[in-house]
């Protein structure tokens, strides 16, 4: 049963004690909220995801509730709770949805050390994964979005989850939060992409989510073989430059773009070394989708070529 089926059957019991229970990649979340706009956006973005009507062992018990005091109405707020802790200050009520997405990210990042977690966008083609580490200003979310609608399957725009011991990439497809200028860039370049409401003045500026393609949600438990690591850099007006880089350099840069490399200790080192070992590594400078997308497709179609 999907979340959309559940909603159609009128069985979205977000406020009842049971909450609504659904899958996100390898994780199951139970969300408790009485806030209807929250649930309707959830169904809009993740309608195709598996929903559960029988009891499941849950990874994250999340509750979004409005405070009981004056802040229920005056400058209304929303509170995020995971299990019995509230890791963040309340958000304005109008930012409830971004709060849920960030809160879930935070929960995943703090609790999933059974994966090596890369801060990276990941897309897949013919079973092989392209990892785009999120160097600040790289435009990784924007580039992942473009790839997700142009021949690649989106695994994640944020988390590269590397499974142990297989070393494969586990999908974690989510609504993609576009920020500020990239909202109009994607709207213009991908008219077929469905964008949700705009949230102004969040702590990351204006945010607008792209609904993830149905296919990537349906196949969210299908892992992929890591094949390419590409460090993207958006430079206005720059032609597309895809240059192989030494694996030692890729190792150091990727370690810096991992959520838990340090905490994993020796395990993290081994996992990262194995990952780098099986991937071709590139640095990418770009400014135009029209030339960067064919370049990445050519890289993928060109078969394995060894970096120096």
């Amino acid at each position: 049963m999907t979340l959309a089926d559940l909603a159609a059957a009128g069985a979205l019991t977000g406020g009842a004690a049971g909450g609504v229970c659904f899958r996100t990649g390898p994780f199951i979340t139970r969300l408790e909220t009485r806030f209807a706009p929250m649930l309707s956006l959830l169904v809009r973005f993740y309608g195709e995801t598996e929903a559960f009507t029988t009891p499941q062992i849950v990874n994250f018990n999340i509750a979004l509730h409005r405070p009981l005091g004056p802040r229920r109405w005056w400058r209304a707020q929303m509170r995020f709770r995971i299990e019995d802790t509230e890791p963040f200050e309340p958000y304005p009520l109008s930012h409830s949805y971004p709060l849920f997405e960030w809160g879930l990210n935070w929960s995943i990042a703090t609790r999933s050390n059974h994966y090596l977690m890369l801060h990276a966008g990941v897309v897949e083609r013919a079973g092989r994964a392209l990892i785009l580490p999120a160097v600040p200003g790289s435009g990784k979310s924007t580039l992942s979005t473009a790839l997700a609608f142009r021949g690649w399957r989106l695994l994640s725009d944020e988390f590269g989850l590397i499974e142990r011991p297989s070393g494969r990439v586990m999908p974690l497809p989510r609504a993609i939060p576009l920020k500020n200028r990239s909202i109009d860039v994607i709207r213009a370049y991908l008219p077929e992409a469905e964008l949700g409401p705009r949230f102004d003045k969040t702590r990351k500026g204006t945010v607008c989510h792209v609904r993830p393609p149905d296919d990537c949600i349906r196949r969210q438990q299908e892992t992929a073989e890591p094949a390419w690591i590409v460090f993207p850099r958006y430079v206005e007006g720059h032609p597309t430059d895809l240059i192989p880089i030494p694996k030692s350099l890729a190792f150091v840069r990727l370690a810096h773009n991992s959520f838990n490399y340090r905490v994993l200790g020796a395990t993290g080192f081994e996992q990262l070394r194995a990952l780098i070992g099986r991937c071709d590594c590139y640095s990418l400078t770009y400014s135009e989708f029209d030339s960067v997308l064919p370049a990445l497709a050519a890289m993928a179609d060109g078969g394995r070529q060894q970096g120096p």
Partner: protein
């Protein structure tokens, strides 16, 4: 008993737990930050493979952070030894660092917040001076806080090396100087055990348990103390198999003036974690406990705050508050307590202290 405590008490029930039970275990385990040690424990009992995948992954994932901190603690202990080497003095490692360096199974998956050490009071000034000279720094404290630590507490204000993240608590006694119970540090040193590394010692096995008991039941609010109760369970499992163990433990508790905390430790390890304590030992420790009405009240309060039930029906606010008041009562004589709490209220209201 909550499913989390039931599973710590009897790992063999793991294969029979329901989905609801597992949800209870994971929720409480995440909140109490004990899933890492639960994983190791289930593995030692050979039932880890029988757990559902989500639970196995959560327990596996919870192993890395404790190990990460333990590596930092080991490094801090090495730095400490280097810094103190000119003084030719010994330190006793307490709690997590002791379990870890003595190789006790309870160290596995256990999260240490900081590094606790015990030094001889007459060497305290020299040690503090050395550490400050070698790059450790004390948090900026006002005059009242300084006096609070220096005059009344069993430790100096916590130190942290400027390049590292671990805080060192340097103790010269196990309980505050103002506390109603006063275990003699000389006795602890006498019974302490050297580690392989010169200059490092740990408390003797009886004192280790008594210290944890004193820390949990005499020196704090008990709330959030599940981790200490699990330490007590683990220490009893490691040592209580020796013949005559409990007799010597009771004798030692009387000698150190820690009979009351021992009573609580054995009582709640037995009540909440089903740790086997021989009936005659339980009878004998009864005389170390408080008068019957207080004992009954403590049973109610302690089981409420230490046993995590999810989903929470209602937070045990009143129990927590009563135990908070009790913790202060035990720490200080009434006159001092009144002035200390008055000052805390004043501060919370935004007032300033004029103490110099």
């Amino acid at each position: 008993m909550s499913p989390l405590l039931a599973l710590f008490a009897h790992p063999e029930i793991a294969p029979g737990l329901s989905v609801e039970d597992w949800n209870g275990v994971l929720r409480a385990g995440h909140s109490e930050r004990v899933l890492g040690r639960l994983g190791y424990r289930l593995e030692r009992f050979g039932v880890a493979e029988a757990c559902p995948r989500t639970a196995r992954e959560a327990m596996e994932g919870a192993r890395y952070y404790p190990r990460f901190v333990q590596v930092q603690v080991e490094r801090e202990v090495r730095a400490l030894r280097r810094a103190l080497s000119p003084l030719d003095t010994e330190v006793i490692l307490l709690k997590g660092a002791a379990y870890q360096l003595a190789g006790l199974p309870i160290a596995e998956g256990r999260i240490s917040a900081d590094l606790d050490i015990l030094v001889r009071r007459e060497r305290l000034a020299a040690i503090e001076e050395r550490l400050l000279a070698e790059g450790w720094e004390a948090k900026a404290l006002d005059a009242y806080d300084q006096r609070y630590y220096r005059t009344w507490m069993h430790e100096i204000p916590p130190l942290r090396h400027k390049d590292r993240d671990i805080e060192i608590d340097v103790h010269h006694s196990l309980l505050p100087l103002t506390s109603r119970l006063r275990p003699d540090p000389a006795l602890l040193w006498e019974a302490s055990v050297p580690l392989e590394t010169p200059g490092l010692r740990v408390l003797g096995p009886y004192d280790m348990l008594l210290h944890t008991a004193a820390h949990l039941f005499q020196d704090g609010e008990i709330r959030g103390g599940l981790k200490d109760l699990l330490d007590i369970q683990g220490l009893l499992e490691s040592f209580s198999g020796q013949a005559g163990y409990f007799g010597r433990l009771l004798e030692r508790a009387r000698r150190l003036d820690l009979g009351r905390p021992l009573y609580y430790a054995l009582r709640y390890a037995h009540l909440l974690l089903d740790v086997p304590i021989p009936a005659e030992v339980r009878r004998e420790t009864r005389s170390l406990g408080p008068p019957a009405p207080v004992a009954a009240l403590m049973d109610r309060l302690v089981t409420r705050v230490l046993d995590p039930h999810y989903p929470l029906r209602r937070e045990p606010v009143v129990s927590q508050w009563l135990l908070y008041v009790r913790s202060h009562w035990l720490r200080m004589p009434p006159g001092l307590l009144t002035s200390h709490l008055g000052r805390k209220v004043w501060r919370r209201l935004g007032g300033r202290t004029t103490e110099h």
